[in-house]
């Protein structure tokens, strides 16, 4: 990744589409270079340093089978399995234009493919996009929901290599999307552009249980009244894990609303970053935007950086943000031990309960249970205990 030009020279022959456009995108990306901490949006995430780090995270298979899902599996960037379902149309890969975001320009230059899916109507099964392998991967997904369409999309990141993933998500009027994301290992810089038409609703629940670099950036644009977005994230950090959720939540239209929560449990030398910028444009009256960050620090070596930002140009809005960072509650720990739980089981219950506050936003209990099982497995391994309950 660090030597993008020679990587490009090596792989460009295998890439589809307009080679000249790709070369131009690479030139634009290289001119800007990888983001550095001098850029405000990257102040807490030092990409170059983190790309040089390795973590010993294991990848636990999340059991999605009970959901009978539609699978799109990308194995080292190549689509191995393509979903077929009524109401789901797959189109050819489309190259992205050059923009002003270096990571997206690298993606435009190097994208090997991605899912270009159009969803009409209500998709009965969840659509799972799995990214696996250990090689550098650039993927550009485009997910379009027609008006009134309904879908559950899972971004299941199981790669232990480098991934630059772009998701362009567009919701038509009255469309509804549940977006589940999981990252367990590797280096990932993911950028999602989400556009919401009138009364469209997106609910995103993200879970990061590992990785030397997990950067999840989402830019949400509310184009018309009634659009609503929920962005919930949970981080279970151990070792040298680094998890960064950075959002720009842009209320361009009146009568739109957003609810953002970020829960981080940070052990050892792990680091959590949350940057949430809410913009309420001049004529966007009656916007309701809520943002909450919570962190449970299990070690003195762990670090949480929380930066909520409100940029409000309208005068009749309800916006609030809050942040609470604390240690494991000693009184709660004693309470549980006084009820017979040994210390490890008590910590397990407190940590699982903390993460549950994010997972409980998932409406489908079967889906929620598959993630709960992963969380249980990760916490149990971390504290060397058998999962209770």
């Amino acid at each position: 990744m660090l030597d993008a030009q020679s990587y490009f020279d090596r792989v460009s022959g295998d890439l589809s589409g307009d080679a000249t456009a790709r070369a131009a995108a690479l030139a634009a990306a290289e001119a800007a270079g990888l983001p550095t901490r001098r850029q405000e949006a990257w102040h807490y995430t030092d990409v170059t340093r983190l790309l040089g780090k390795r973590t010993d995270d294991t990848i636990g298979a999340v059991d999605f089978a009970p959901l009978n899902p539609l699978m799109a599996v990308f194995d080292n960037g190549a689509l191995r399995e393509a979903p077929v379902a009524e109401g789901l149309a797959l189109h050819d890969f489309e190259a992205a234009p050059i923009g002003d975001n270096a990571m997206l320009n690298y993606n435009a230059a190097l994208a090997q493919g991605g899912l270009n899916a159009e969803i009409s109507g209500a998709l009965a099964q969840p659509l799972i996009v799995t990214t696996q392998g250990d090689e550098p991967v650039h993927l550009h997904h485009k997910i379009t929901l027609a008006p009134k369409a309904k879908a559950v999309l899972v971004d299941n990141h199981m790669s232990c290599g480098y991934t630059n993933a772009r998701f362009d998500i567009t919701l038509g009027a009255d469309a509804e999307l549940t977006l589940i994301r999981v990252q367990q290992a590797g280096h990932q810089i993911g950028t999602s552009q989400i556009e919401l038409a009138e009364n469209a609703r997106v609910k995103s629940v993200a879970l990061v249980t590992g990785g030397a670099l997990a950067r999840h950036e989402a830019n949400v644009a509310f184009a018309a009244a009634g659009a609503h977005a929920e962005l919930h994230s949970a981080v279970l950090g151990r070792g040298d894990n680094h998890a960064d959720f950075t959002y720009v939540i842009d209320h361009q239209a009146a009568e739109t609303s957003s609810n953002t929560t970020a829960y981080n449990v940070l052990d050892a030398a792990s680091r959590g970053v949350f940057q949430g910028k809410v913009i309420v444009r001049k004529d966007a009256q009656h916007v309701d935007a809520q943002m909450q960050t919570r962190a449970m620090m299990l070690s003195e070596g762990a670090e949480m950086d929380a930066k909520p930002e409100l940029e409000i140009y309208a005068d009749d809005v309800v916006c609030a943000h809050g942040s609470a960072i604390g240690e494991l509650d000693k009184d709660a720990l004693f309470f549980l031990r006084a009820r017979g739980l040994d210390e490890a089981s008590a910590i397990y219950l407190l940590v699982a309960g903390f993460i549950e506050q994010v997972l409980s936003h998932i409406d489908d209990e079967v889906m929620a249970d598959s993630l709960r099982a992963l969380v249980a497995q990760k916490i149990a391994a971390q504290f060397s205990i058998e999962g209770a309950a």
Binding site: D329, E343, S360
Partner: protein, 254 residues
């Protein structure tokens, strides 16, 4: 018959500050003892020292419970041995349902005693039966532990835990605080239902009111970290009339 709990000349404190100064107390199986005393007399400290909260240090004396010395036991070992503390301020645990908590607790204790864990169906039946007896609906079992519970609901939930765990000795730390008269009656009924020939209770309270509903066998007055007077239920009524001034004064002069 050997005592269920025998505390002898107990000295204990926190951060080097002595709070209990030579406290002695003995509870036989089947007995209900009440400890009354002014604020700051060390009542809650006694409950924490007995249940093993971190930070409290015993410098002298001993605590024997069912033939075992409590001093070196972890809080969970004391719970497994049959000691139960009903908290003055029950903790809220977000993200953990009351049901999950009760099940985890009961099974931890059964496991600790070398018994089989309870299967899901039997547990559910038991939890419903015990909670209904306390006037709690099934919905309260599904809610997050104590989150958004009223003061009365939290205290009732403590009694539910006690009913599920069936301890040998229950310590009720100011269980009456923050309760209106109806909630107090419900809680007291729950406690009375658990009185048994082989179970002891230590009821810690500031006010005599609770003892109208939970009739103690023995009443102790605690001041400045020790028991200064013991007697029958009439002692509580006496305190209600004359207050604690006599005992506080005595310790100041001592």
């Amino acid at each position: 018959m050997s005592a269920l709990l025998n505390i002898d000349n107990l000295h204990a404190g926190i951060d080097g500050t002595p709070i209990l100064n030579g406290l002695s107390l003995s509870i036989q199986p089947g007995e209900v003892h009440a400890i009354m005393g002014p604020n700051g007399s060390g009542k809650s400290t006694l409950s924490y020292v007995l249940s093993g909260k971190d930070g409290y240090e015993v410098s002298e004396g001993e605590m024997m419970f069912a033939g075992q010395s409590l001093a070196d036991m972890a809080p969970e070992e004391r719970a497994i041995a049959g000691l139960f503390l009903a908290f003055q301020y029950p903790l809220e645990i977000p993200g953990v349902t009351n049901m999950t908590f009760l099940k985890t607790s009961l099974n931890a204790i059964l496991r600790g005693r070398g018994e089989d864990e309870m299967d899901a169906a039997s547990f559910l039946r038991l939890a419903r039966e015990k909670s209904r007896a306390l006037g709690m609906n099934d919905e309260m079992l599904k809610r997050q532990l104590n989150v958004g519970f009223s003061g009365g609901e939290k205290k009732r939930n403590e009694i539910l835990q006690m009913a599920m765990l069936e301890p040998k000795l229950a310590i009720l730390d100011e269980t009456d605080s923050g309760l209106d008269i109806d909630a107090l009656k419900t809680v007291a009924e729950g406690v009375n239902a658990l009185r048994a020939p082989d179970r002891g209770m230590l009821v810690i309270t500031h006010y005599q009111r609770l003892l109208d509903f939970i009739k103690p066998d023995v009443v102790h007055v605690m001041a400045a970290g020790r028991i200064v007077k013991s007697g029958g239920p009439e002692l509580a009524l006496e305190l209600e009339k004359s207050g604690y001034a006599e005992y506080v004064g005595e310790t100041v002069n001592a």
